[in-house]
């Protein structure tokens, strides 16, 4: 632990106040949902993914912290642009507020548009259509080629941190795109779960000893 692990990919999450950025991150990192307080400044998470180390910056949505944005955007490999599916204004902010902030990120930075709180979304009164979301996602990523989009889908997800819907899928999409695994690596790491199920029959018992 004494030598700082080097991060292979820096992921940041942006979005208006109270759209559920921290809940999304915590759902992925800790695997559970809990009520979050508003984030102060920016919080840093570290997560291994396969052979790689992922650094995740969870940021505060309050405008008064925008002075920090240069710092965490610099050399970001992927940016999650989160908005609340139930509040159209938060979707508009993605363009208006965060588009320019991302200039500091890597040139090939992958931008993922993510709608949150899909569990409380009422389809009949819905203001931001999935089509609009997908459109924005493609506009933000001009260098994403057509073939890739057809294969993997557009970088647009509708998630629920509460019900754990599409959260892991969204992160997997990022990592598959930014840190493609070789087939060999894929076999080694893909099957392994990031959390250990104590009730599950331990089939990889002998392997576990190697863990240091």
């Amino acid at each position: 632990m004494s030598v700082k692990k080097k991060a292979d990919l820096k992921v940041i999450i942006l979005g208006d106040y109270d759209v559920g950025k921290t809940s999304l991150i915590c759902r992925y990192i800790n695997g559970k949902f809990q009520k979050q307080e508003s984030t102060v400044g920016a919080a840093f998470f570290f997560k291994p993914w396969g052979p790689y180390n992922i650094a995740v910056w969870d940021t505060a949505g309050d405008e008064r912290y925008s002075g920090l944005s240069h710092f965490y955007c610099r050399s970001a490999g992927a940016a999650i642009l989160a908005f609340d599916l139930n509040i159209p204004k938060t979707f508009e902010s993605l363009w208006a507020r965060f588009g320019s902030i991302l200039d500091a990120a890597n040139e090939d930075c992958l931008k993922i548009v993510v709608g949150t709180k899909s569990d409380v979304l009422d389809e009949s009164t819905r203001d931001v259509s999935a089509e609009e979301g997908r459109k924005l996602a493609l506009e933000l990523n001009p260098d994403l080629d057509q073939a890739y989009v057809e294969m993997a889908g557009a970088p647009y997800f509708e998630t629920s941190a509460l019900k754990d819907e599409n959260v892991t899928e969204m992160f997997e999409y990022i990592f598959q795109r930014c840190l493609p695994l070789s087939p060999e690596q894929h076999n080694r790491f893909k099957g392994k779960k990031s959390t250990i199920d104590l009730l599950e029959d331990s089939t990889e018992g002998p392997n576990r000893k190697k863990c240091c």
Binding site: E37, E63, Y65, S66, L68
Partner: protein
């Protein structure tokens, strides 16, 4: 109840002339004294008031800029210079953004409407005359009253202390109780009162109406209003309002605040402040229970000096990083260790803001954080960057590293890992958590009969110590009353018109002794039947006890990088 009590009290002696001074150990050796100050020397209340009337913070202006300039001189590589430029401007674009994005919106209710003013005045006068606080419970039980009903309810009017922040144009910014949205009218009245007096080239300072004291403070286009029916004096309320002002600065910086109002005189400051309400609320709650804010001094976690040395040496060794100004460890609102850059001091008022930051926010417990914070006494013009991380699983011991370099996060994160490792190796974290579990010390440990509680402040180090609250002060009501007694005693001793060295006061339920010297301030609470002689003996004994324990109770050596 409170009034009865106050009347029943009888001032037996308010000056030291009748007392045989010889009986007091007149020492220069005030326990907890230290020549190399750990903190910036604390302001006396008088200094503070002077500061308030001047209306501007003058000390340490531009400290951060000078630190940054020093840095750019030191390193001449192009890359660094680039980041330097980045940093000097760093706060500017953001503040600009904030200021620009603030829409000019009209005050929803016009002040000039007589109707509203009249209503507001009625509200105010109602508040003055209500005099049966004990009847409240029946009202407090109505839970689902809407916000607008709430601010008209008896419960709202009977709150013990109200704090309001409004802009010069009368726009609500903050209210401690009830949503400030619903208080437009009453805030309009407050602003009307303030401007009416200002028209005559004068300043409205306070109004006393029955049980209530209304205190007004104008600073940087903001009006702070404090209304209390507790025992706080006008001076003490001003100090509390100053803390509130400092909290505003801590979020925005003084430069941003002035710029915002320069651009839009009637802007809605709630937007740039959004998300920081919890800091204001928490600060006010702290002020109600934490004597350190009243005494502008800091409580240290009782710790063997050997352990404390290990902690501060660990910080010095592992956090010797460029541009790191302050490194501190805080555990449950108490200071464990502080290491500072040479020539720079941390003011206790700034430290209270830091403690408030940690105390008010759960979000630091989840992960390492990086956040800007402005320390008004250190430099009101700019932000320091704070690295915040808890060192233990239980999230009790918190490490803060304050730097002027916005890029320093990863370096500081490494420092934190090393510090944690070494503190664990020397069992220092266990020692800290043991000390936390022991809850400070009980007054019985001083083995002085009749002494119920005390506050002792070492003036040169701006630190204070006090035992935990035991019976009869084990209920919130009684604690509140005790805190009121301390406010009373503190006010009498520090009275602007007649400051006292010594006050012996016999009340209905307890006898109080306040004693202020060059080196310390002591506020002691005895049982009601204690005689003057016994009290004097007791405090002498107490001073000897504190002297014996000073290594444990105070941080006596100031450690620098």
């Amino acid at each position: 109840m409170a009034t009865d009590h106050r009347e029943a009290e009888q001032l037996v002696n308010t000056s030291d002339s009748d007392l045989q001074e010889a009986e007091f150990v007149e020492t220069n050796e005030a326990p907890g004294r230290c020549d190399s100050a750990v903190f910036a020397k604390t302001d006396d209340l008088d200094d503070l008031t002077l500061n308030i009337t001047n209306g501007v913070i003058q000390n340490h202006r531009g400290t951060i800029t000078s630190l940054i300039r020093k840095r750019s001189k030191r390193s001449n590589t192009p890359r660094d210079q680039e980041t330097d430029a980045d940093l000097t401007n760093n706060s500017n674009p953001s503040e600009q953004d904030i200021a620009n994005s603030i829409e000019q919106s009209e005050l929803s209710s016009e002040l000039s409407e007589d109707e509203d003013v009249k209503n507001g005045l009625e509200d105010l006068s109602l508040q003055d005359t209500e005099s049966a606080p004990e009847e409240a419970p029946s009202v407090t039980l109505i839970p689902s009253a809407s916000e607008s009903d709430y601010v008209n309810s008896l419960e709202w009017k009977q709150q013990k202390k109200h704090i309001f922040i409004l802009s010069e144009s009368g726009k609500p910014i903050y209210s401690r109780h009830g949503s400030e949205d619903k208080l437009v009218t009453i805030m309009g009245v407050m602003q009307a009162l303030v401007s009416f007096v200002q028209d005559n080239k004068d300043n409205l300072r306070s109004i006393v109406a029955g049980d209530h004291t209304f205190v007004f403070m104008n600073r940087d286009h903001l009006t702070f209003v404090g209304i209390t029916r507790g025992r706080e004096s006008t001076q003490q309320m001003l100090l509390q309002l100053t803390y509130m002002y400092n909290q505003v600065i801590s979020v925005l910086t003084h430069s941003a605040l002035t710029r915002i109002f320069k651009q839009h005189r009637n802007c809605d400051l709630r937007r740039p402040l959004s998300g920081s309400e919890k800091f204001f609320d928490n600060l006010l709650n702290l002020m109600d229970v934490e004597p350190g804010l009243l005494l502008t001094s800091v409580r240290c976690l009782p710790l063997d000096s050997s352990v404390r040395d290990i902690v501060s040496q660990t910080i010095v060794q592992h956090a010797k990083v460029k541009d790191l100004v302050f490194a501190l460890i805080i555990a449950q609102n108490q200071l464990v260790a502080l290491v500072r850059m040479k020539r720079y001091y941390l003011h206790p008022m700034d430290l209270h803001l830091i403690i408030n930051l940690i105390n008010a926010s759960e979000s630091f417990k989840a992960a390492e954080s990086w956040t800007p914070i402005c320390l008004p006494k250190f430099d009101a013009g700019g932000f320091l960057q704070a690295y915040v991380s808890y060192l233990d699983e239980e999230c009790q011991t918190c490490l803060l590293l304050l730097s002027v370099d916005i890029e320093a996060f990863y370096t500081l994160s490494e420092c934190c890992t090393k510090i944690k490792e070494r503190l664990n190796r020397y069992n220092a974290l266990t020692a800290i958590s043991n000390s936390l579990q022991r809850h400070s010390y009980s007054v019985q440990q001083c083995s002085i009969g009749d002494l119920r509680h005390f506050l002792y402040k070492a003036r040169s180090t701006a630190q204070y110590t006090s035992p935990e609250l035991g019976p009869p002060y084990n209920t919130p009501d009684q604690q509140d009353r005790l805190f009121g007694l301390y406010h009373f005693l503190h006010d009498k001793v520090h009275s602007v018109s007649r400051p006292l060295k010594l006050l012996y006061h016999v009340g209905q339920y307890e006898t109080l002794l306040g004693w202020v010297t060059q080196g310390f301030e002591l506020y002691a609470v005895f049982g009601p039947l204690v005689t003057k002689n016994i009290a004097i003996h007791a405090v002498n004994k107490l001073l000897r006890w504190i002297k014996r324990e000073e290594d444990r109770l105070f941080i006596l050596s100031s450690v620098t990088f």
